[in-house]
């Protein structure tokens, strides 16, 4: 009985389809492995939603479904009132979804500035011909992309390395470049896949403030995959816990932290 009460707040619930992001009944299998099983939850505009779960729980797979890198076998993902299944993966950015990658997927030979400018790619239209001929409208767009990049470079204190190829930068700096690059299209939803991985103590503390600040400044919703429980609990408005591809808890951070199912899932795993 006590257990039932404790779980009431974190019980997975019917999906709010009016939310900014509504994941509804998403299932995805890799051969015999069910990476996502009937996953449903919603993220409100401007909210920070932590997504936790042991390794292999399906967090990155879920990100890849939202990015349209994977096609779920069942279920729908609705973003801003639109079903994502109707869009190709290169159309997702323009809808207002940006992301970082678990293994930092920067364009290694390009400079910091150019990486951030690629992040803003979807804001411009000029094609091969317009740019080869340097038509005035293409040149204008180019200036706009560059201004956008400069603003982000300043905001994320990357000025010193703006002209350096990112492959040469230390890891923590590369992660900051990736964050700046993701924000270049002014997304409505930012997907962060383990932004604290590989960072030291102080850097993780700084990251928590950074994530809050990003949300305060832009009102962007953030879906945050992290293993650092403290970080997730500190910054999130809502936490969703996955285990073996299923949602086992969804609610306010405090409630999810003390949820017996979550405790069991984490005790059962290596951590």
């Amino acid at each position: 009985m006590e257990l039932a009460e404790a779980r009431a707040e974190t019980e997975p619930r019917a999906v709010d389809r009016a939310a900014l992001l509504a994941v509804d009944g998403v299932t995805l299998r890799f051969g015999g492995v069910t990476a996502l099983q009937d996953v449903s939850f919603a993220v409100q505009a401007g909210a920070i939603c932590g997504l936790i779960g042991p390794n292999g729980a399906g967090k990155t797979t879920l990100f890849n479904c939202i990015s349209r890198l994977y096609d779920p076998h069942a279920g729908t993902i609705v973003f801003d009132g639109r079903r994502l299944a109707r869009f190709a993966r290169h159309e997702i950015a323009a809808l207002g979804i940006a992301r970082t990658f678990q293994n930092v997927a920067l364009f290694a030979t390009m400079t910091t500035r150019d990486n951030v400018r690629v992040g803003a790619h979807a804001l411009a239209r000029g094609g091969f011909l317009a740019n080869a001929l340097a038509l005035p409208f293409a040149a204008r767009e180019e200036r706009r992309l560059t201004e956008r990049a400069e603003a982000l470079i300043e905001e994320f204190r990357l000025g010193r390395v703006a002209d350096r190829p990112v492959g040469e930068l230390p890891f923590a700096l590369r992660k900051r470049v990736e964050l700046a690059r993701a924000l270049a299209i002014e997304p409505k939803l930012l997907l962060l896949d383990e932004p604290a991985a590989g960072l030291n103590h102080e850097e993780v503390d700084g990251l928590a403030d950074e994530i809050r600040a990003i949300r305060e400044r832009r009102g962007v919703a953030i879906l945050l995959v992290e293993h650092h429980m403290n970080l997730v609990m500190r910054v999130s408005d809502q936490v969703v816990a996955l285990e073996f591809g299923r949602v086992i808890a969804d609610g306010p951070p405090e409630a999810v932290r003390t949820d017996p199912e979550v405790a069991r899932a984490y005790l059962g795993s290596a951590r």
Partner: protein, 325 residues
């Protein structure tokens, strides 16, 4: 000390000035060779957009060079199209051919693309020599065309006039490639090479961008082939074999991958080093005379050992040491 941008602008202008003066200082045959170098440089610019910037290997650009050459020859010699119109027309055909070829081929990517383009390079001379096309391509004997003379009674020899047509074309195509590479499209090309999934996530349409890039690169090869046909006055199947395609690849590597300025150096290399190798193998005595290929190979390896980033990489390294940081 001037900044790197200014230095580059000065260097570009100096090279251009030298190129303008060259046909008045050199003999007729050297002017003809100069035109060949410019033609090759155009093809290398295009292949470098594809391979250096976009990371797609083509072993078959000789085929697009051939389409450009035959296109110009057939248009001028058989259909009476003015040569200044025939060159752009032939290169548009090449763009279409590259786009259509790239569309299915790029789906496989990587080594499969290399194999598909390899097949193209092997097939091209055979198709051109095929009897069924005799009426248009002249079979194995090819097509002759009249070399265009300088108009308006300009005091230029035919070779000088053709040289200037090649020079203007190369300069324009160089500027277009520069613009492209410096733009969002150029960044998208590199992004697709470095990290394709992330690039798509940022809104780069991978399939379309890569296919158009293949088409553009074929277009450059087509312009080169068409100009070369005008300069030589003749096209025949055996000039467009696999060796030509491979020499383009050598040219962009020696010039420097993902560098446009290196195209000129790469073109000089593939125009002159093979005959240099011929001469050298002769100097090594009778025994080495049969081995120009081996000498060429050694020269190539030496070039790459001295300049691992190609000519452009070497220039960048020297600039860093003298100008910057």
């Amino acid at each position: 000390m001037p900044g790197p941008r200014l230095t580059r602008a000065i260097a570009t202008l100096a090279v251009f000035a030298l190129a303008v003066a060259f046909p008045f200082l050199a003999s007729g045959y050297h002017v003809y060779q100069g035109a060949q170098v410019l033609v090759l440089a155009i093809a290398l610019l295009g292949l470098n957009l594809l391979t250096g910037f976009n990371g797609q290997i083509s072993l078959g650009h000789g085929a697009f060079f051939a389409i450009g050459g035959y296109g110009a020859a057939i248009l001028t010699a058989k259909l009476g199209v003015p040569y200044l119109l025939a060159v752009p027309l032939a290169s548009l055909v090449c763009f279409a051919a590259g786009f259509l070829f790239g569309f299915p081929a790029l789906r496989f990517g990587g080594l499969y693309l290399a194999l598909a383009t390899f097949a193209l390079a092997v097939a091209a001379p055979q198709i051109l020599a095929w009897k069924g096309f005799d009426a248009w391509t002249g079979g194995s004997s090819g097509v002759s065309l009249v070399k265009p003379h300088a108009p308006f009674a300009l005091p230029l020899t035919t070779d000088q006039w053709l040289y200037f047509i090649c020079l203007v074309s190369a300069a324009l195509l160089y500027v277009a490639a520069r613009n492209l590479v410096a733009s969002r499209i150029g960044r998208a090309l590199i992004a697709l090479r470095d990290q394709p999934i992330a690039a798509e996530t940022m809104g780069v349409n991978a399939a379309l961008t890569k296919t158009i890039c293949f088409g553009i690169s074929a277009l450059y090869a087509g312009v080169a082939g068409a100009l070369s046909a005008l300069a030589v006055g003749f096209v025949s199947p055996e000039s467009f074999g696999l060796a030509l395609s491979l020499s383009f690849l050598v040219g962009i590597v020696v010039g420097g991958l993902a560098s446009l300025g290196g195209a000129l150096f790469g073109a000089l290399f593939i125009e002159f080093v093979p005959s240099l190798a011929d001469q050298m193998s002769g100097n090594f005595g009778e025994g080495a005379k049969a081995l120009p290929g081996a000498v060429y190979g050694v020269l190539l390896i030496v070039a790459m050992a001295v300049m691992p980033g190609g000519a452009a990489g070497a220039v960048r390294a020297i600039m860093r040491r003298t100008v910057g940081s």
